[in-house]
């Protein structure tokens, strides 16, 4: 027995189903054959690229990345081939880039901060062992000479050698020597060519001398067996390493001095008993070592604290000075009686329109102590160290940033002032308020309401204003007592850049640990500011 209620429900469900069907048909009918073709074509390109990537990853046996690429490909195809899920079709392209290059990299920074990634610890252990053995190789005295023909195939060189016993083998730096029996030989039984390869003639050898002299072809799979090298391109000799690697024991022994270097998995290198280690090592996870180094070493902790304080001071002073000047100018030029306001306005926007990195370099020239315009012309040849004295450099940075930033605040404040209703001022004047009182008690509070989100954004921007610092002072003057390359005007982000990319000793792990610190600070600042402005509550 059915009640009328459920019958009505059923009727509604049928009607809804029909409606959905109708809208689906309408949607499908409106999408022309051209749209479908474009869609299939674009997806085809994406899939072709993915299949290629999957193939390469399969050959490299990199299963983690393989499964990630596979997953993304499947998700993309699923999103675009199903009928429902319209929002996903619009969001997916942007989200893929966002997830990889903005969100994944943050997590990846977190991982790198726990490794010793950097100069000397770039790769895995196998590469480190090979490179150690190769770099310490020397020619074995009175070693036999192998008759050599240098072969070329697809831009890569191989050695075709005939050993003193007359046996012929071929090999290249990536694959050890293997015996061949189809080589072409000359009258004396020496190999001179191999099918599929081109033999280099004398002129070609001379032209590529450096590349050929750098080749080292391993004799066998065991790196301890040494490799063949050639000084002249016509004969190869056996080179053996001073270092002997014992894989089972995990040791590297220097045959000439007898020192045993033992593998240390916590450091990612071979270490002797006296503490000396062999370079290069390999990348290992080191736990909190980078954070311990940053906060525990005096020579790094001191600079880190002063850099952090200066970062906050710089960001705050930048906002305060540019806002003060911008607001002052907005009030001065917000008078309808004044003529030529537009001319002033356009000229004052110029610093904002000029590319920021160039502005900093131009000012660096003008503030140059020996030759700059400021010292030579304005101060009559005085050598004032604008960019090399700790405090003057800080002042110069704030000053140049004022030049860069006041037009923005001027524009913003002008807009905000003009949106304050004129009646408020009239009412206050009628009530007997003086101009200063009108400004302080009525205009300023109203203005702050509308510009405070922009002030927070400006603070966040200046917190990471790398270009200005790096182009103007390069972070200098340098703090010579610090354990890392850091100077008096460095902010956190320029310190990260210098530790990771400037100079011979790059330390990605430590730089990432600093990055994590910036993330935490920025997160704290945003939490506090969003609480204050309630900007998030207005989202709908």
């Amino acid at each position: 027995m059915t009640t009328p209620g459920t019958e009505r429900d059923r009727a509604q469900i049928v009607a809804a189903k029909k409606e959905r069907q109708a809208s689906r048909i309408a949607e499908a009918a409106s999408a022309g054959i051209k749209v479908l073709l474009v869609k299939v074509l674009l997806l085809g390109i994406v899939d072709a690229i993915s299949v290629y990537a999957l193939f390469v990853l399969f050959m490299k046996q990199d299963w983690l990345v393989f499964s990630l690429v596979l997953l993304v490909t499947i998700v993309v195809n699923w999103v675009y081939f199903r009928v429902k899920g319209l929002p996903a079709k619009y969001l997916t392209p942007g989200l893929i880039f966002l997830l990889i290059f903005q969100i994944f990299v943050v997590g990846y920074s977190g991982y790198i901060a726990f490794t010793n990634y950097g100069t000397g610890h770039n790769s895995n252990k196998e590469d480190a062992v090979n490179s150690l053995i190769l770099s310490s190789q020397e020619r074995v005295p009175d070693s036999p000479s192998y008759a050599l023909t240098v072969l070329e195939q697809a831009g890569a060189y191989s050695f075709l050698v005939t050993d003193p016993d007359g046996e012929i083998s071929v090999g290249n730096p990536d694959s050890p020597l293997t015996e061949v029996n189809n080589a072409e030989t000359d009258a004396s039984g020496q190999a001179i060519g191999l099918p599929g390869y081109t033999a280099l003639n004398f002129a070609e050898i001379v032209n590529n001398q450096e590349a050929i002299a750098a080749l080292a072809v391993p004799v066998s799979d065991d790196p301890n067996d040494g490799s063949l090298r050639t000084p002249d391109g016509s004969a190869a000799y056996l080179y053996l390493s001073d270092l002997v690697y014992d894989e089972a024991a995990g040791t590297m022994t220097d045959a000439s001095t007898g020192v045993v270097y033992t593998e240390d998995p916590s450091q990612g290198s071979f270490v002797a008993e006296d503490g000396a280690d062999l370079q290069p090592g390999w990348k290992v996870e080191v736990g909190l070592a980078n954070f311990a180094k940053a906060f525990g070493t005096d020579s790094i902790r001191g600079p880190l604290i002063s850099v952090t304080l200066w970062t906050f001071a710089f960001a705050f002073l930048s906002v305060a000075t540019t806002f003060a000047l911008g607001l002052f100018l907005a009030i001065v030029f917000n008078d309808l009686r004044m003529r030529g306001r537009n001319v002033y306005r356009v000229v004052m926007i110029l610093p904002y329109a000029f590319p920021a990195f160039l502005s900093a370099l131009v000012w660096a020239g003008m503030l140059n102590p020996q030759f700059g315009f400021i010292n030579q012309v304005l101060f009559g040849g005085a050598e004032i160290p604008w960019l090399t004295n700790e405090w003057l450099a800080k002042f110069s940075i704030i000053f140049v940033n004022l030049w860069l930033g006041f037009p923005y605040m001027f524009l913003v404040c002008t807009g905000a002032l003009q949106s304050i209703p004129g009646e408020l001022q009239e009412a206050a004047t009628v009530d007997g308020a003086r101009p200063w009182q009108v400004f302080r008690l009525i205009k300023l509070p109203l203005l702050l309401v509308s510009v405070s989100p922009l002030l927070i954004a400006s603070f966040a921007f200046n917190f990471n204003n790398f270009n200005l610092i790096y182009m103007l002072t390069n972070g200098g003057p340098r703090d010579v007592t610090a354990g890392v390359n850091v100077g008096a005007t460095d902010i956190l982000i320029s310190m990260v850049y210098k530790v990771a990319f400037v100079g011979a000793n790059r330390d990605y792990g430590l730089a990432s640990a600093f990055s994590i610190l910036i993330f935490v600070l920025v997160a704290l600042v945003s939490i506090i500011s969003f609480r204050q402005t309630k900007a998030l509550e207005e989202l709908n």
Binding site: A26, A29, S30, A31, V35, A53, V56, L57, D62, Y90, L91, P93, G94, L95, F97, L98, F101, Q102, F104, V105, V106, I112, V332, F333, R337, M338, V347, M348, L350, F354, P355, L358, L361, V362, W363, A364, G365, M366, N368, F371, F373, Q376, W403, P407, Y408, L411, A416, E426, L454, F461, N467, I493, V496, A500, A511, S515, F519, V522, V525, L539
Partner: protein, 304 residues
């Protein structure tokens, strides 16, 4: 506002009283404002005139640049394009290319996302918007080390889009496309009445047709602002470009000019100045041309 007290009542034969010119009163009312204006004009424009004059001084160094406009010659501009180690023309082309593709891609990806947030209702919509606002607070350059190592890893698989390729750099920039701009666009999309979409839907247009042929045209001003801000931002970007692009022929103006001037700061100055003037021209022209739109867009987001 103070002038309202002497406003003429309409309909009467009011003849304004001609005050004799009084300097003191003029100065107190608007004169001092012109004084402030003059100071600010010098402050704002002087560095730009300085770099222009330095660029016109042939073979000039930092010290000769101090004699403003004492000599006018385009020799430095000619030198600039014939430097053996510094392919300035290539840098210029690269900057325009990378900036152009990045801003077009940013506009497109941002508009797609803004359309779905503005016109569709789905699970996770509010969370998605919140996430975009939060992501804005963390600029990409904070993760510069990870970006470098990620591209280094991609190079092993796909050398064509890894380190030292412009495609790789553009991909990284597109990662920041949604974070900064979607929220700006979302607000503008919301001001277009939804009844327009509905009318088009009744006439049989599908979602793609509505988006590409109707909405995109109506939101053109915000697309221009986002495109321009993204172009200017890309032109100014140094950190990521400097670690991704290694070969001089592939570098952008920011990377190339910085390395050029930092090698021999004072002796190369006039050639650098010529490069700076040319580099600034397209950005400044775009900026002054689209000034009106930008000022509107500024109050909604971007900072400098």
């Amino acid at each position: 506002m103070a002038t309202t007290t002497i406003a003429a009542p309409s309909g009467t034969d009011y003849i304004p009283v001609k005050h004799p010119f009084n300097f003191g009163r003029w100065f107190r009312a608007t004169g001092w404002r012109h004084l402030v204006g003059a100071v600010m004009v010098i402050f704002s424009a002087f560095p730009l005139l300085y770099v222009l004059s330095a660029s016109l001084h042939p073979g000039g160094t930092l010290i000769t640049a101090n004699g403003l406009f004492s000599q006018i010659d385009i020799g430095s501009y000619v030198t600039l394009f014939n430097l053996p180690q510094q392919p300035y023309a290539a840098w210029y082309g690269n900057t325009l290319l990378i900036g152009g593709i990045t801003s077009a891609g940013t506009v497109f990806l941002g508009a797609l996302a803004a359309y779905s947030f503005s016109r569709m209702r789905f699970v996770g919509r509010r969370a998605g918007l919140l996430m975009l606002v939060l992501v804005q607070m963390f600029p990409q350059l904070l993760a510069v080390v990870a970006i470098f190592l990620l591209l280094n890893g991609i190079s092993d698989i796909f050398p064509a889009i890894g380190l030292d390729t412009q495609i790789g750099l553009i991909m990284v920039y597109l990662g920041g496309a949604l974070g900064v701009n979607t929220y700006l666009m979302y607000g503008f999309f919301n001001t277009i009445p939804a009844s327009i979409d509905e009318a088009a839907k009744l006439d049989g247009a599908g979602h793609a047709r509505i988006f590409f042929t109707i909405i995109l045209r109506l939101v053109a001003p915000i697309l221009a602002v986002v495109g321009l801000l993204s172009f200017v931002g890309t032109t100014n970007e140094f950190v990521i470009a400097s670690i991704v692009l290694i070969t001089p022929e592939k570098q952008t103006l920011a990377v190339g000019l910085y390395q050029f001037v930092s090698q021999e700061f004072s002796s190369n100055y006039s050639v650098f100045a010529a490069g700076a003037v040319l580099a600034a021209l397209p950005v400044m022209a775009l900026f002054l041309w689209l000034q009106k739109y930008i000022v509107g867009g500024l109050t909604a987001g971007s900072v400098k």
